[in-house]
Symmetry: C2
Subunit: 204 residues, 2 copies
């Protein structure tokens, strides 16, 4: 048990150590660092965190984070609306955008099917994907899911659901090692794997 | 360069990555984590950080952080006012308190003499230490400074300044490896080294 000279400090340490991967000792160092700096750093951080939850919105089209009702990518005339890239998470959108190899649009599922973690189809944004797939605008569905059993299962589930629609299906090339999560892949491999995406079929 | 779907998110990531040891990638993970949690976590953290700079005070006696004008240790009747432990930093007070081996009071210098970093006597709270040393209340000065050249230099400087006063001088036992900073020492070694402190003399 730590002895804190101040309840205010103790409370800050407690809150900071609630973050993933930050233990009590690191949290203490961070709090003391903030106390040593100019007040504006701590206040700037405090303000940014408050705004993070009060001001952020979700794009109604793709479910990515957004400052507006419709995110910049969905609203952009420059993006190819015929391509729809299905990802698990917002981080995956950011990872693919960083490669600058993809000009289509996205749909953020919000996870992958995982019986182990009790995540079934109803927890994912599959209705939203279906609506987009049936809109007539989309011509190609690109699965950009984790190269794990759960990612594969999710792609297969979605493919079965949508395969009767007049759509092309593809999946990002397995240039990344099996077992890898997208967000940890380096930009070059990830960029190559989405550029060289392959037609999706049941026997992959 | 990262592409953020939202300026609010980008700003939060920027502020978080201003913390020491937290890169852009970790900051992004932390911000996205906060977005996935209930709002109360981010708001609690935001509030605790704001209060950290608006509500914290420094103890007028020992310069430790405090919620009041005088900290709990300085105000306590149970602490031995005859012993004054001189430390560099607030973290060192916390480290020694954690050992539960010391019942005296503290004085936080606010650093150590370091010509390399341009820290001279005027940047440290030496006036405050002298005032305490001359108060008549204090009988023993305990140096609990880093076991580094700078820590040794600081102890020697203070000893020379105070040695004509009717005081005992001691320094925490070098049970901790030379080159170690106090805050990284394990509790047992640190507790033993303050319990087995040795009389201070010039030839140590």
């Amino acid at each position: 048990m730590m002895n804190f000279p101040s309840k205010v400090l103790e409370k800050a340490v407690e809150e900071i150590s609630g973050l993933p991967g930050i233990g009590k000792k690191s949290a203490t160092r961070l709090a003391l660092h903030l106390l040593r700096q100019s007040n504006s750093q701590a206040l700037g951080l405090s303000d940014a965190l408050r705004r993070l939850v009060t001001d952020i919105k979700y794009c109604k089209e793709c479910h990515n984070f957004s400052d507006a009702e419709i995110c910049e990518i969905c609203a952009s005339e420059k993006r190819n609306a015929e391509q729809l890239c299905v990802v698990e998470d917002v981080r995956d959108v950011m990872a693919i955008e960083n490669t600058q190899q993809y000009q289509g649009k996205y749909l953020v599922l919000g996870g992958k099917l995982s019986p182990m973690e009790g995540i079934g189809p109803s927890q994912l944004r599959i209705d939203s994907l279906e609506k987009r797939a049936r809109s007539g605008e989309v011509k190609e569905i690109i699965f950009a899911l984790s190269a794990t059993m759960e990612g594969d299962t999710t792609a297969y589930y979605l493919y079965k659901k949508l395969k009767d629609l007049p759509l092309q299906f593809s999946t990002i090339a397995r240039g990344i090692a099996v077992g890898d999560e997208l967000e940890y892949a380096d930009e070059v491999s990830l960029g190559r794997s989405i550029r060289n995406r392959m037609p999706y079929n049941e026997k992959m």
